[in-house]
């Protein structure tokens, strides 16, 4: 038997994964720079500058690939618009996070370079997760993101940081083991790690191997649910979020979660779509429980970071709805509509989250506390911060004229279209619950006198830039959602 060895030409690899290559190269370059430069130069933000340039270059490269499709290694690594929109989202978030951490010297002193290139590698991991259509590649991407995140969470010199990183590491490792174990069952039944081929085989093998396939599916579902912090797999999130440096918390809440969703949709859509109606109800249940529990638990939090953590759990519930609905009634037009709604809300949510954490970073630095009391009377200290925070909070709750409302509206519309009226109703109810705790904070900022002397707080330039970008995005997507929503369904999502 002779086998033909298929080589991969660099040109093909460049076409499919140029952004990843640029970011990986930049990461390794930063490692070298970090070792060579004197400590004084590191403070000047050379590493952040290099990383920002790399992100911009990678972003342009990704933009130029829209509408094209290609695959690398027999179908294991895909270039399609689905991967590209997610890659742009990850890179945008990382860009904001890097800007935000420019002024966060105090938190991770001595680890500037490490901080930056770990963030770049984490982004590469997320991008791999969005692009791969092979279980092995997917798992490697997931681990790149996870391992860098564990380290990033543990960067602060405090026991809280160590505790959060430890919890995240242990629970994350168990989740990875679950995913891998589930994948091994799917591989055992189908004999392939390639998602589309596995999906084809599973279509026929479903009846004869139902027990094994369902077990593999459930294990993967549990592992993925940990990564996107869906109730009841959310226990790590508040502690890891609280312990991490604040910009990293924003990264976990926005980019990590988006990467989890990108992976989840790709896997379940490619491999298990043929039997959606039989097990899709699970997602509906998970989405409902997550919305209710996340929003309920957020009400009782005193620490703003923990409150935002629980609120991000609740948001994961909303984000699950488009996919859950899709499993109920799966057909082509529906697919693009729901994918667009999911992506729109992910982007809107990423902007609000980055903005809210940017404000939190500034406030926490001045007040030396992340308690809700730090926000009391913020309006007297910095009207810009208070106004921006109020916009982000009401956007998270879903106030009209903000991106949060538009996003929830599209998601609810998808749910109603497929007949899940109660799910749409539940979304509305939990949004009302969310208003309760968000408005508590807004009231504190505007109506109460600040504790201590009422000095005004200065906002560093980079953090101000992040806040303004997030503000423009949040209001812009809220006032004119059509700009994005009209172009999304027309994308060449999966390259059919």
């Amino acid at each position: 038997m002779t086998t033909v060895l298929q080589g991969i030409a660099f040109a093909d690899a460049w076409r499919v994964m140029a952004p990843e290559m640029v970011l990986t190269a930049a990461g390794f370059l930063l490692m070298l720079i970090d070792a060579a430069l004197p400590p004084a130069a590191k403070r000047a933000g050379v590493s952040t500058g290099v990383a920002l340039i790399a992100l911009l270059v990678a972003g342009v490269l990704a933009l130029r690939r829209f509408g094209q499709t290609a695959a690398l290694g027999p179908g294991s690594y895909l270039l399609d618009d689905y991967a590209l929109v997610f890659k742009l989202l990850f890179m945008g978030i990382t860009l904001l996070i890097l800007l935000l951490s420019l002024d966060d010297h105090g938190r991770a002193e001595g680890a500037r370079g490490e901080y930056t290139y770990l963030l770049l590698f984490a982004t590469v991991g997320a991008m791999v997760m969005a692009s791969s259509a092979d279980l092995v590649t997917l798992f490697v991407g997931l681990e790149i993101l996870s391992v860098s995140s564990y380290v990033l969470v543990g960067l602060r010199r405090s026991s809280k940081s160590a505790e959060g990183a430890m919890k995240y590491l242990v629970i994350g490792a168990i989740a990875s083991a679950c995913v891998l174990f589930g994948m091994s069952y799917i591989y055992g039944v189908t004999g392939t790690t390639h998602l589309a081929e596995a999906g084809y085989t599973l279509f026929q093998a479903w009846d004869s191997y139902r027990g094994i396939v369902v077990l593999g599916l459930l294990l993967m579902l549990a592992g993925f649910s940990v990564k996107i912090s869906v109730v009841p797999f959310h226990m790590w999130a508040p502690d890891a979020y609280e312990g991490a440096p604040t910009p990293i918390t924003a990264f976990l809440a926005a980019a990590s979660k988006a990467a989890g969703f990108a992976m989840l949709v790709r896997v379940f859509l490619y491999a298990f779509a043929s039997h959606f109606p039989e097990w899709g109800g699970l997602w509906v249940g998970l989405a409902a429980v997550t919305m209710v529990a996340g929003n309920l638990l957020a009400i009782v939090q005193r620490n703003v970071k923990r409150m935002l953590a629980y609120s991000s759990i609740g948001q994961a519930g909303y984000l699950l709805v488009p996919f859950a609905v899709l499993t109920g009634a799966y057909h082509g037009g529906n697919l693009y509509q729901d994918m667009s709604a999911l992506y729109f809300y992910l982007a809107a949510y990423a902007l609000m989250t980055a903005g809210a954490f940017a404000v939190l970073t500034v406030v926490a630095k001045h007040a030396r506390s992340e308690d809700v009391d730090a926000f009391t009377g913020l309006f007297r200290r910095s009207p810009l911060l208070a106004g921006a925070m109020a916009v982000f909070l009401v956007a998270m709750a879903g106030m009209p004229l903000t991106s949060g409302f538009a996003g929830k509206f599209f998601i609810a519309l998808g749910a109603i279209n497929t007949g899940y009226y109660w799910l749409a109703g539940l979304m509305f109810l939990t949004s009302v619950m969310a208003f309760a705790y968000y408005f508590g904070l807004v009231r504190r900022m505007y109506l109460q006198e600040p504790y201590g002397p009422a000095e005004s707080w200065r906002t560093p330039a980079a953090a101000a830039l992040v806040v303004v970008v997030a503000l423009v995005g949040t209001i812009g997507l809220g006032v004119a959602p059509g700009v994005m929503m009209h172009s999304l369904p027309g994308l060449n999502w999966f390259g059919q």
């Binding site: 990986t24 294991s76 290139y117 791999v128 092995v136 798992f139 960067l155 990183a165 004869s208 027990g211």
Partner: protein, 179 residues
């Protein structure tokens, strides 16, 4: 009774099955004692035993190269590295004995339920009869492995280098932070 015997129906005692059960008992025992030991040193040694037992399993499955890699890398390098790490740090640390509280019972119950479900899923599936031939001739397993690794799986193979770098650098950063 009937149901139980049908679960183990069609079972023939051969040298392979005897070896399998010996190895299985060894691996499971080593894994359980790993959790029971209170001294980190003993834990490291029993995880070495788990790695060796798994290498035996790979031999039984006809994956000779994988078995050798397992012995070289896991049983050899990783276990020794762990022993080094333990010897160079506080190796006399003894873990506190934990009382079997409500949580432990719930966790145990959950684990038992998961095990039961898995056993049920595996036993109720009508598996196709195993083919006498392994998918590739034994002496070709290295070739087959290399070919798969460097053609179909070349992308993840390259990406693993990023993963390993991240893990290595991360470990150094976290260790240095303590200073």
């Amino acid at each position: 009774m009937n149901a139980v015997s049908s679960w183990f129906g069609g079972f023939i005692w051969t040298g392979q099955t005897v070896a399998f059960f010996l190895l299985a008992v060894l691996v499971v025992l080593a894994a359980v004692t790993l959790l029971q030991f209170r001294k980190v040193m003993h834990m490291a040694l029993s995880i070495g035993l788990v790695f060796l037992g798994m290498a035996g399993m790979y031999v039984l499955l006809g994956a000779d190269f994988l078995a050798f890699a397992q012995i070289l890398i896991y049983a050899g390098a990783i276990t020794i590295l762990m022993l080094f790490a333990i010897m160079l740090t506080r190796h006399d640390e003894v873990e506190e004995e934990e009382r079997a509280g409500f949580r432990q019972w719930i966790a145990g119950l959950g684990a038992a339920a998961l095990g039961a479900v898995m056993l049920w899923a595996i036993r109720t599936t009508a598996w196709p009869p195993a083919s006498a031939q392994p998918p590739w001739p034994a002496q070709k397993s290295v070739n087959a492995l290399a070919e798969t690794l460097f053609t179909g799986y070349v992308v993840p193979f390259e990406l693993v280098s990023v993963l390993l770098t991240v893990a290595l650098v991360g470990a150094v950063i976290l260790a240095r932070k303590e200073e």
